[in-house]
């Protein structure tokens, strides 16, 4: 069964015919060709597929595209400024070496931006707990935690 799905992605209205079984992440990657959102597991553990839906971090592999009908979606491609300047959270990941192979990174950044917005000044322990839904196999999280704490500060303008 084909259905029409419409939403806003990175500020741009998009509308496509899709099979009903299309996952949001498949819609983003295969239909919109925004390949920065990744798929690292099939049980909603790894968080590489994390995008922002109406300002909240969600796992795009765990929802149908239809569940995002009418929503405002932001993917990693929409985080930096139009002129290419990195978002403070992205800049913090770069400065603190919060990424290695880069595969989990988009999901980490999308979750971190949402978390930092809601929990400015979070402690190290709170940051670690906020990453319960994001797996990284490279960094040992040390520098991701540092990056999020620094990015959070930068976002708050401190």
């Amino acid at each position: 069964m084909a259905v029409k799905v419409s939403m806003k992605v990175n500020g741009k209205a998009v509308s496509e015919e899709v099979e009903t079984r299309t996952l949001l992440v498949t819609f983003i990657r295969e239909h919109l060709h925004l390949t920065g959102t990744h798929v690292g597991c099939d049980t909603a553990q790894c968080g590489a597929c994390t995008v922002s839906m109406n300002g909240k971090a969600v796992k795009a592999c765990s929802m149908l595209a239809m569940q995002a009908e009418g929503a405002d979606i932001m993917t990693i491609e929409g985080v930096a400024k139009a002129d290419g300047t990195l978002h403070p959270m992205q800049a913090a990941f770069k400065e603190h070496h919060g990424l290695q192979c880069g595969f989990c990174t988009p999901g980490m950044v999308m979750n971190a931006v949402d978390f930092a917005t809601r929990h400015p000044g979070a402690s190290e322990q709170e940051v670690r707990e906020s990453l319960e839904g994001n797996l990284c196999r490279c960094t040992g999280y040390h520098n991701i935690v540092k990056s999020i704490m620094a990015g959070s500060k930068a976002m708050a303008g401190k």
Partner: protein
Amino acid sequence: MGAPLIGARIQRKEDYRFLTGAGQYTDDVTLPRQTYAAFVRSPHGHAKIKSINAAKAKAAPGVLAVYTGEDIAAAKLGGLPCGWLITDVNGQPMKEPPHPVLAQGKVHHVGEQVAVVIAETLDQARDAAELVQVDYEVLPAVADVRLARAKGAPQVHGIAPDNTCYVWALGDKAAVDAAFAKAAHVTKLDFVNNRLIPNAIEPRAANGSYSRADDAYTLYVASQNPHVERLLMTAFVMGLPEHKVRVVAGDVGGGFGSKIFLYAEDVVVTWAAKQLNRPVKWTADRSESFTSDAHGRDHHTIAELALDKDGKFLAMRVKTTANVGAYLSTFASCVPTILYATLLAGQYTTPAIHCEVTAVFTNTAPVDAYRGAGRPEATYVVERLVETAAREMKMDPAEIRRKNFIRSFPYQTPVALLYDIGDYDATMDAAQKLGDVAGYPARKKASAAKGKLRGMGYAAYIEACGIAPSAVAGSLGARAGLFEAGEVRVHPTGSVTVFTGSHSHGQGHETTFAQVVADRLGMPIENVDIVHGDTSKILFGMGTYGSRSIAVGGTAIVKALDKIIAKGKKIAAHLLEASEGDIEYANGVFKVTGTDKQKLFGEVAFAAYVPHNYPHDKLEPGLNENAFYDPANFTFPAGTYVCEVEVDPETGVVKVDRWTAVDDFGKIINPMIVEGQVHGGLTQGIGQALTEGAKYDSTGQLVTGSFMDYCIPRADDVPMFQVDTRETPCTHNPLGVKGCGEAGAIGAPAALINAITDALGVKDIAMPATPQNVWRTLNQKKAA
């Protein structure tokens, strides 16, 4: 010039693309007229395939083809080769069962590739894969490494009686036996080094295509070594000339060993692309990764250490059974032998060591190199023995180590390796200081006051990296060389592109290698780009594993740079009308010694490409050099880890409270990146000791087949790490580097289990020390 680039914390050149979603991983590549593959996999650990009926699948919507083992046999595709020949103690070659890319008549592990369905869309391929009817006759299976050679155990391969691939030994058995006979104390341990599933977050992926116009193939693949992949695929499996196959491993989302190997899917999509004359893409879902990626470790070991009354090590005796799984993966045979037994001297002067390794086949996924590959297993043997011996002999675990440290270099171990340099006191001293070992008793008291059990453990590891001198490797059975290649292409205006056979999948080579180049040439790092991962661009490469990239790949680049500078001097001498011997090069400037006559690097490059005024009689135009480097020896990174745990005796939960790592990696190019490698390695080591353990049941079903049951560490499972380094530069490469990628995973498990057993007051605990395992261990202790 600015500050020196070697040793600088330069931010990574690759980060911008990863942070903005612009990375190009294999699954991100979608080609015109793309098709999609879904594999039908064995649901059984061991079974005969009685028949396969693909009629329904072939008729399903969108399906372009269904191939089975029969098609592969008809096409005369070879099996997957093993790259290392181990010779048995009786002089016989190891048993090498055929490893077909689609099963031929029998399946030997859950997840084995039985058929492939190729369709217009991925959903169609997966829908149709469910329609392929395979009639199996299920056979008894064996999965446990300890049961593989038991009487009456199911036989995995007819050609390997007792499921034995080889029995191999290293060391002087008579000397060891003699030393044990006069020992004042013997410490013995019997344990399993738990089976691990690598789980790079990017699943494996392959996208094969074929051009009739060129009669040539291109394979995009998540690989750590595209040239090796091409070599194995063309020469051994497909019978193709290499110049007709291009392998591209662009951005790769972590490897940890699991992407070194040539896998069946890579071959199948490449072959099928020609049959269909369309590109064929396959990307593993995580469930497939769990059952079909090569796993790691899985040893059963009985190890003994003989000591004199003062705690001096006299000899070590190790007997290991290593599970190689259902088939021999690319480097499976050398991991539990060459990369294991040779490391059993550790940092110590133990004069006699003997190790016997029996490699066994089981109905499980193939086992091959996983971060550390043999060296974590060796370190676990040595460092668990040493710590246990100290406790049994009531000695301080640091002191017993110091008493036995090697202090004179070069040092020939009794297990074949020649250590060039090291300073084990330096890393031990620094770790004890940084880890505030002096403050430990007070922390233990504080924990006890909260009802918690605190324990401390050390591991003083060594590894052999910079793999490897080809002649040595060849004499030990390697079927390939282990050099590396590099090319430096200077552009007419003086900027530089460097091509390396090393592969970066998280290591940051685009930055560290550029630091080396920019430092050597005395130019801004912005003027240097590093290219890797494409056989059509890079002259050759052996790839990245065994912490070899900077030591071997980096040295190849340095050698090419030296050729560039040498040629540049000739050009400059001509331009400056000086003798070549009088030209010196520093900070981007060719200068006549003792004068102010000079030419900038860019001017020399320009002269090479616009050779109007040029020594044509002596020199070719252009400024482009390549070099191959074959290392003279392994490198020997070493270090000391100290960790402290706090155990909740009510629940069995272990909290890793403090972790100190002091490593000697020789010269360091970028400390920021090195620290990141250590953090990641430590966390994988902590995973092995605390959370990760692949479990098969007796029928060969993988019980831990998803992240719901197989636990890789999360952010709240690990602490902030205290990381520092000491430096004894490697003596046999020009950069003085040793490599740092695997250290953490090598040293961490032993340190952590040493800390947990200390906290619990027990001799041993099996890995992983999950809460239930710790709780049971405490109960057993109470009952005893």
